[in-house]
Symmetry: C2
Subunit: 757 residues, 2 copies
Amino acid sequence: MEKKSFKYLEVHPDKIVERGYHPDRHQVSESLFSLQNEYSGVRGYFDEGISNTESLRAMYLNGIYDYSREILNTGYRGIAKRTHFMINTVDIFKISIVVDSEKLDLNHIKFKDFIRELSFLTGLYTRAFTWELNNGKNIKIKISRLLSMSSVQNAIQMIELQSDQIAKVELSMTIDNNLKQWGEQGYLQTENVDIDNGILVSKTTFTNQKIWTKMSVTGPVKANSRQANAAGFTDYYDLTLDAGQPVTFTRFVTTLTSREYKSSIDAYQHIEEINNFAVNYGFTNFLAQNHKFYDDLLKQSDIEIEGNDEDLQGIRYCSFMLNSTYHGYNQMNNLGAKGLTGEAYSGHAFWDSETYCLPFFLFNNLKAAKDLILYRYHTLGAAKARARDLDCRGACFPIATLNGEEGCTLWQHASLQFQPSTGVSYALFHYFNITNDLKFIKEYGLELLKEINQFLLDRGQFNQDQTKFGYYGVMGPDEFKMMVNHNMYTNIMAKFSFDFMLEMLEKIKTDEDNEIIRKKLAISDQFIADLKDRSEKMHILFDDKTKLFEQNEGFYNLPHIDIRRIPREEFPLYSHWTYDRIYRGDMIKQPDVLMFLFLLNSRFSHDVKQANYEFYEPKTIHESSLSPSIHSIFASELGKHQEAINFFGYASRLDLDDYNNNTKEGIHLTSMAAAWMNIVYGFGGFRSDGKIFSIAPTIPHRWKSYTFKLTINERLISVKIDHQNVAVSLSGSGLKLRIYDKEILLEDYYECRTRKN
Amino acid sequence: MEKKSFKYLEVHPDKIVERGYHPDRHQVSESLFSLQNEYSGVRGYFDEGISNTESLRAMYLNGIYDYSREILNTGYRGIAKRTHFMINTVDIFKISIVVDSEKLDLNHIKFKDFIRELSFLTGLYTRAFTWELNNGKNIKIKISRLLSMSSVQNAIQMIELQSDQIAKVELSMTIDNNLKQWGEQGYLQTENVDIDNGILVSKTTFTNQKIWTKMSVTGPVKANSRQANAAGFTDYYDLTLDAGQPVTFTRFVTTLTSREYKSSIDAYQHIEEINNFAVNYGFTNFLAQNHKFYDDLLKQSDIEIEGNDEDLQGIRYCSFMLNSTYHGYNQMNNLGAKGLTGEAYSGHAFWDSETYCLPFFLFNNLKAAKDLILYRYHTLGAAKARARDLDCRGACFPIATLNGEEGCTLWQHASLQFQPSTGVSYALFHYFNITNDLKFIKEYGLELLKEINQFLLDRGQFNQDQTKFGYYGVMGPDEFKMMVNHNMYTNIMAKFSFDFMLEMLEKIKTDEDNEIIRKKLAISDQFIADLKDRSEKMHILFDDKTKLFEQNEGFYNLPHIDIRRIPREEFPLYSHWTYDRIYRGDMIKQPDVLMFLFLLNSRFSHDVKQANYEFYEPKTIHESSLSPSIHSIFASELGKHQEAINFFGYASRLDLDDYNNNTKEGIHLTSMAAAWMNIVYGFGGFRSDGKIFSIAPTIPHRWKSYTFKLTINERLISVKIDHQNVAVSLSGSGLKLRIYDKEILLEDYYECRTRKN
């Protein structure tokens, strides 16, 4: 299906620029100009607000969440009765500006030279315009924001004002709790407004988490008053602008939460300290620190594209957002489908984290990758409880979660999808395949594998004559098939999980701590025998002649739905088709067979990949934003270069061009990781699941050259591809690598001809 | 699974008797001693109440219902967002008795000779006991209730008091709205308390239905006052009992509803009239009228059993309850799963009405049977709207309803089950097969068939190569399989529905009004061609060798669940197994293949029935109370007489002995119809789906003889079976009948040897 784009931003390699205000894109800009530093996320809402304009004014704090007011009324077991979600927290950037009795509101005033920018190099957000007052004066206004990447509890807002004539300014700065949840009642309660210290203490409704927010302001004048109300407090400033003389107010906001500070005393002590530090450190230093932060990451992860600045901007925006949202600050954090930029998907982490996002971090920020896996280790308790809910032992990781509990109240997803669990096994494998870090496997990996596999052993069933094992009543990645038997993704990834654990157990067999580990984890001989048995007997629906995997038992018998004949206005199908209808045909939502062929790429032949791609791709409607990138990667591998480009078309600029017409709800963070894979795994032909890493680059016609970087075991590899050559540089010790079909020992540089499209 | 019985009632052929109060059975007795007259139902609660005892104090009015306060929060299409249910209405029997300052409360007072009875011959309920006052006096109290079968808006309560010594009595009689819904807030609002006329006007919350309730009391003294409150009003009586002198108060309560009286003026006028009539007619006349009502029905429907009074009482209780609940008073009424005796299943009618209940009425009360079918005709509008919700044309009858709308908010039932729709087609067939009433088919039947079949045409799908038609993503009668393809019950009953309509169209082809009917119903040639095509191509999973129907595509591959090894304490499974687990094996909830083999019995060979019974029965856990009777019927047909008796064991005394431990929620009305079928179709071997009616009786060892009656086309047939002979008598013109394997023309009497078990 052809998608529609909405292009209104200027193209630039290192930033996004909105020149001239686009009121019809107001909420999209709020999403796109979001700042995130893993600790918090602030949408690019207008600090001063705007009248009669739909806006999602929001600041989120990672891990600050609440339970729903509604409790599901169901007598059935194993169904989550109450969801939880990331809540909208404290409005830290709220201001009001009145000049000569005229109030700043872009919906009412006259203004010119509006420009808004977000720099990928620093994370600096600026919005500037010239306000043409009714009385003929011109006020230049520039408002900047920064979330510190090094001192993440600190956010800085800078307000610069300059008038061409003398003018009277009334400025106020507010900290309050008045943000709404999905436009409705919020979940934050005020616990205390400490007017003396400029601290607002807030509390969530059901989870009893606390937030302390302190602001300090530096500027040309002191506040003439501070006023409190039920939701927070406001500082008021009066000043006179002299003609041509700029003035600057800088607000330093420090936000602490009970995730890190258990007691009020502790929080109070530290919030003063951290806020004082911020005021003293100052805006310029914070900006420099941020620059260093992104620069360090870019040195090892930047993608360059010559010949198409749109693509370049797109992929750099993706990298910037990924690095901003998650970089290994807190092992209890994860990546929500929308990051910290909107409430859609409730801030929940999905199996996207391991299967779509992890590779980006594995090769760009290994610490963050490790932390991402450790998130699952830290939430093992909840996953074990969930397995109990499903009448199984072991651990079942939730389909959607913030705190480790199942947050999805749709049983047909929560009880039938096991991609999150097998995804964790795959993540461990992927991490190990790159690092050979057996210590990590022994400390965390085997425990995760034991619990996941125990669940998978229990949840699986044998067929009538006990010869075939597999999963009945499941939903695979293709969520357009519900309650199917022997979904191949589920069966094959479960088998993979069993096999990988057996391999790891074999690896530590001669270790001195082998016995201790097995004892500690209660890995019995029977358990091992069961893993082997179920792996051997796993029911694989593969036809040697056609080379096809049947997506699930009976898939071939399903009625055919000609997806090209579905009218455009019937999308999204969930809103236009009766619910059960989407489940009754061979139409596919997103890669399922192709997904495991991608993850376990090196284990399958070219013929198998080709046959399955050709069979399944035409049935796929890509309702998930994660779908096109995987198809693009396959198309590249299979030499279908035009298809590869077509699928890539949406990937890196999905949000910048708002292809899905829903960017206003927040950016598609996990798709951004898929976009990165689309280049590195797709055009770059990189593969990381085999015994040896490999690349097999091709280059889209519209590019002159492109470069990507990977860090593998502390060795930085840079690959530059143009239409003639592939040039691979390495810093660090030698690395075995396959380039196209040739295996080499890469020392410091290697060059070969680029394979023609 | 062995079921546990709770026997506490005396065995008697014509009534149920509780001798001595059984507090632990309090709510069970409330259900069992319910009175019903189709118009209303009153549970056997203690008129005076009882402290510290769980009670469901309830009076229901057929068709008086409300919508739920909760509205389901779903963005998906085709899912009912709000349920509706029968509501608890007006407390018409509430009294309070104080004698010599001691208050009547069976939980506190001393009493003896408690006896409670409900007569199957009259529907008279009486409760009597002797109250031993603290001051040594003995008060005999007898409270009777009657719902009139002839003047259904009238209910009578009689209170008889007699003291062995002079005693002062304070009696009050209340009419109020204070009844609760499931023990929570009720749905009735008071619109007016008309204290002068003794009329309470009530209104439902969302449906805006009105109820007018008037009471008049005759007795030895007049009320000394009437007091009103927000929920109703109370009359107060003071009197002195003389030693040995009985006194009697009789309360006549008339209840009208806005279903029959649209305006208040109209209702007011009639309520006076009807209530006056009642007072004048008096208790004795009402009792006589009720006696006549039941007697008339029994003459043509009574079952007699010699040799086992428990079985006799059981089946007569069933007939009594069926005749009471539904007898053709109002075509907008139907039979709820619990009748008008409890709130479980929300008072909803299910497909049970056509497939389990209809035969009882077809052969005992043809007018009621016709009305039951017409209920579907009158709710065709809602069924058409429901089809639209499911992206289809035609009509889809709801899985659970009072007003014709879908009342089931579980999409996995409401959107996937089409038994209600094919059940209506079957009901039309069954009715026609007995009556040959082509007029009815032309007036109502064809329109129903057209709409049902249009839905079935639209909802069905072809397989990949367009050779096989059938239903994908459905749930058949076996609700332990969800989202299956080609459920055989669904496919075969859809084919049946197509074929029956084609047959009826063929029948009217030469009629003069053929063209008019086809035009009026928009039955095009294409539509007819489609019916033929889909019928021919209907996918039937039948193996000629094994004679087995596969319950659905892939059933044979499902994991085996050994149902004998499920611990008793895990039942009911819905409460003890995680929800999805019940769907993942070959365990069956209730007959599915066996159900269509029963309905279309004459079309299948003995071998087919035997093979399928032997294959499916051992996999069936009979979680539905409708299941054992069908299995008993098959067991009889297949000569498995011990099994037939075992399955029958629960059927006719399911509620009297509380086998399912949930009779307190209300009686299992539709199971009672199944119990009737168990005798007539099971032991009697009656079959009514073939070209010729047939009987093939056997007799359980524990019986000496049994007799059942059937009215077929105004001819009353009585069949008496003992261990020697089958004696068939007929009043009316001759009827072709097959007895065992012999076809006869029954004139007035026929006798043959009974087939040995």
